[in-house]
């Protein structure tokens, strides 16, 4: 019952979004003319992220998603005569630049902040606390939430994603206890989920974590892959970015180690969290990406639906190229902009002054019947004082014939609640 209600709501919101997009600029012009007589307010939002520099392959489409959605909101007068002014600045993945950007945003007046990397989110955590600034980063690191009141993850943390993948392994593995290795980025971003997976195992998740590999800039992973195989590893869960995963998959493919079906005996099944997958992985790994399993909370365009139709229409409306339009990180950017817009809409609807305090309060109340269904994700966005991860639901995808396809239905990891 709950599920059908959820689906109905999703379709409704998506349809509304589609209508808005297809109505186009003419409608926007009409509404603007009609409302110029009343006093308009401008809400100041800001985003600092890596549009260039390391990880800009994710940051670039993310920025476009944020920019396009706010443009759409303003053009369609979704906030009535009020407008959103979102300043987007490139920090090249440098924490000192992010901090400087944030300080300048604050000096100019800021109602809601969107951040990007794990490093800068951790580095600026105290600043967000001092400023009491509601902040949504693109980093899903669970550590962002420790000793923090104002950081809200858009979707399930990397820890929840890794645990979700581990649960899938345990539930679908045939034979004795599955042997798993983790392939992680040598940073807080990569290391974060390891201890949580270990806690899940301690709490009863029936798998053996054989080894945690912190990768470097490897040209050849033969030694690592052979070592894991010799230790009986059957599954590798990755928490890093696409490039090292692509190199590993190519090497595994060359050595004929990739499982062609999930859990194939004597081979390795490769799985990964949000930033390991998507079209960029297929672009880098080519045919070697086949049978890679990936989890995220976002919809993807290789699985068309109302949400992806809306995403593609939005990208088309603002002249984005196909690569950006198809990117799950474009959806990621759209989604955080949707959440911020929804908070403003709700604060206005309650007759509150729109500022960082009221928007923070709206985030905290986004749960239960007030949960938000953005259609760019596979589940609702829910926040509360004790739950700062937005979309708890995950979807597993696998590469089949060169495109990610859904595997099963959306799920919420069980062990995240047990650790």
């Amino acid at each position: 019952m709950k599920k059908s209600k959820l689906n109905l709501m999703t379709v409704f919101i998506a349809a509304a979004l589609m209508v808005f997009i297809s109505c186009g600029t003419k409608e926007a012009e009409k509404v603007e003319v009609a409302t110029t007589a009343t006093e308009a307010k401008t809400y100041k939002l800001a985003l600092s992220l890596a549009i260039t520099g390391p990880t800009s392959d994710a940051g670039n489409p993310y920025a476009k998603g944020v920019e396009d959605y706010f443009k759409f909101v303003n053009e369609m007068n979704i906030l009535g005569e009020d407008k959103i002014e979102c300043t987007i600045r490139d920090d090249q993945y440098k924490n000192d630049v992010t901090k400087r950007n944030f300080e300048e945003f604050i000096a100019e007046g800021l109602d809601f902040y969107l951040n990007y990397s794990t490093g800068s989110t951790l580095a600026l955590k105290k600043d967000f606390e001092e400023e009491k600034m509601p902040t949504i980063p693109a980093s899903f690191h669970a550590g962002n939430l420790i000793e923090s009141n104002y950081i809200f993850l858009p979707i399930a943390s990397y820890s929840a994603q890794a645990i979700g993948l581990a649960e899938y392994v345990v539930n679908n593995h045939s034979g004795s206890t599955p042997k798993v290795a983790m392939f992680i980025h040598p940073s807080a971003f990569g290391r974060g989920p390891v201890s949580d997976v270990e806690k899940a195992i301690a709490a009863g998740l029936d798998m053996e974590l054989i080894e945690v590999v912190e990768h470097g800039k490897d040209l050849d992973n033969t030694a690592m892959l052979q070592r894991l195989l010799n230790k009986g590893v059957q599954y590798v869960i990755s928490q890093t970015v696409q490039s090292p995963v692509a190199t590993m998959l190519k090497d595994a493919s060359r050595l004929d180690l990739v499982a062609k079906t999930f859990g194939e005996n004597g081979k390795i099944t490769f799985l990964g969290c949000h930033y390991t997958g998507g079209n960029d992985l297929i672009a880098l790994a080519g045919p070697a990406a086949e049978n890679f399993f990936w989890t995220t909370s976002y919809i993807i365009t290789s699985e068309p639906g109302v949400g992806t139709d809306a995403q593609l229409a939005l990208a088309k409306r603002y002249g984005r190229d196909d690569k950006a339009a198809q990117s799950h990180n474009y959806a990621n950017g759209v989604m955080v902009a949707q959440v911020a817009t929804e908070c403003i809409l709700r604060a206005k609807a309650r007759g509150k002054a729109v500022n960082k305090e009221s928007l923070y309060q709206e985030l905290l109340e986004m749960n239960g019947i007030n949960a938000f269904y953005p259609v760019t994700t596979v589940g609702p966005v829910t926040y509360s004082a004790t739950d700062k991860a937005g979309v708890d639901t995950l979807q597993l995808y696998a590469v089949k014939n060169g495109a990610f396809k859904s595997v099963g239905t959306p799920f919420i990891p069980i062990y995240t609640g047990k650790i």
Binding site: D57, Q242, G286
Partner: protein
């Protein structure tokens, strides 16, 4: 034993690619005593040009590689002509600072193209089934990388030892004033050194891009990754780059194969090359094959 030989083969493959990447540093340093910090960016640009010619213009990849090498030849030569020629005779630190600036400029220019923020991969042009050497596997891409490396390094070795221009370049490296006094054009030699480094960068970039996929951050990082190789081999020795490249490749593979994951060790493949580098430099401060100049006062 198969495992051991697999690690040896992988080590040699990786080492060869390191050697080819390091060659650009050596070629420039050998002639002009300049350390080009922007070499990683030229490696990346070379890979992108090969990709663009192959995929966007439909030119066969081997021809694209040759054209790309030609393009980076002229790119590097132009860089030397525009930015570095004026600095002949200036303190070496000034020249190195210019190459750091150059790195930022090239970064900025690449970010203006789709290659700055998007990922690509070369089309498959070699058989995907690896070569099986009695249970030891090597991919065609890796084999091609090794062959290109051997050809290029042999060519450059011959060039420096036997050709008039190569000998002139060595002479300039040895003593600029003495070289000028016998009619060698020092600026031309510098330009040629940069150009040949550009040539090797395109080859290295294309090989690395075929292995890792085309990601700007990954590609230009190899300018830094191969730094221990350059220092270990000796900044001015082509043979040193080859030997040090293979040593580093083997150390990394053996560390990953035998140390990582055992006794609580992790990431030794990343750290060990630097530890070995430090130890060797303590014993041989100019690297394994670097020239130790003695100045009489």
């Amino acid at each position: 034993m198969t495992y051991f030989f697999q690690l040896v083969v992988s080590g040699i493959v990786v080492g060869s690619i390191y050697a080819l990447s390091a060659l650009g540093f050596v070629l420039i340093y050998k002639s002009s005593k300049v350390l080009n910090i922007a070499h990683g960016q030229i490696i990346a640009v070379g890979a992108f040009i090969t990709y663009a010619l192959t995929v966007w213009m439909g030119i066969p990849i081997f021809l694209s590689l040759i054209l790309s090498m030609g393009a980076t030849f002229f790119l590097a030569m132009s860089v030397e002509r525009i930015f570095l020629r004026r600095l002949i005779g200036e303190p070496i630190i000034s020249v190195i600072m210019v190459t750091i600036g150059l790195m930022s400029i090239l970064d900025g220019l690449v970010y203006l193209t789709p290659f700055g923020t998007e990922n690509f991969s070369f089309p498959v042009f070699l058989p995907s089934t690896p070569i099986d050497l009695g249970g030891v596997y090597i991919s065609w891409t890796q084999l091609m990388g090794v062959i290109i490396t051997i050809v290029m390094i042999s060519g450059f070795s011959w060039f420096f030892k036997k050709s008039t221009v190569g000998i002139s370049m060595r002479a300039v490296s040895d003593d600029q004033l003495a070289s000028m006094s016998i009619g060698i054009s020092v600026p031309k030699v510098f330009g040629l050194a940069w150009a040949t480094a550009g040539l090797s960068a395109a080859a290295a970039g294309t090989i690395i891009g075929n292995i890792t996929g085309l990601n700007f951050d990954t590609l230009h990082a190899f300018g830094i990754v191969v730094f221990p190789v350059v220092i270990l081999g000796g900044l001015d020795s082509i043979l040193g780059a080859v030997v040090a490249g293979v040593i580093m490749g083997l150390i990394q593979q053996f560390a990953a194969g035998y140390l990582d994951g055992n006794w609580g060790l992790n990431g030794t493949a990343e750290v060990l090359p630097y530890i070995i580098l430090l130890i060797i430099l303590l014993i041989k401060p100019h690297g394994l094959f670097g020239i130790h100049e003695i100045e009489r006062v």
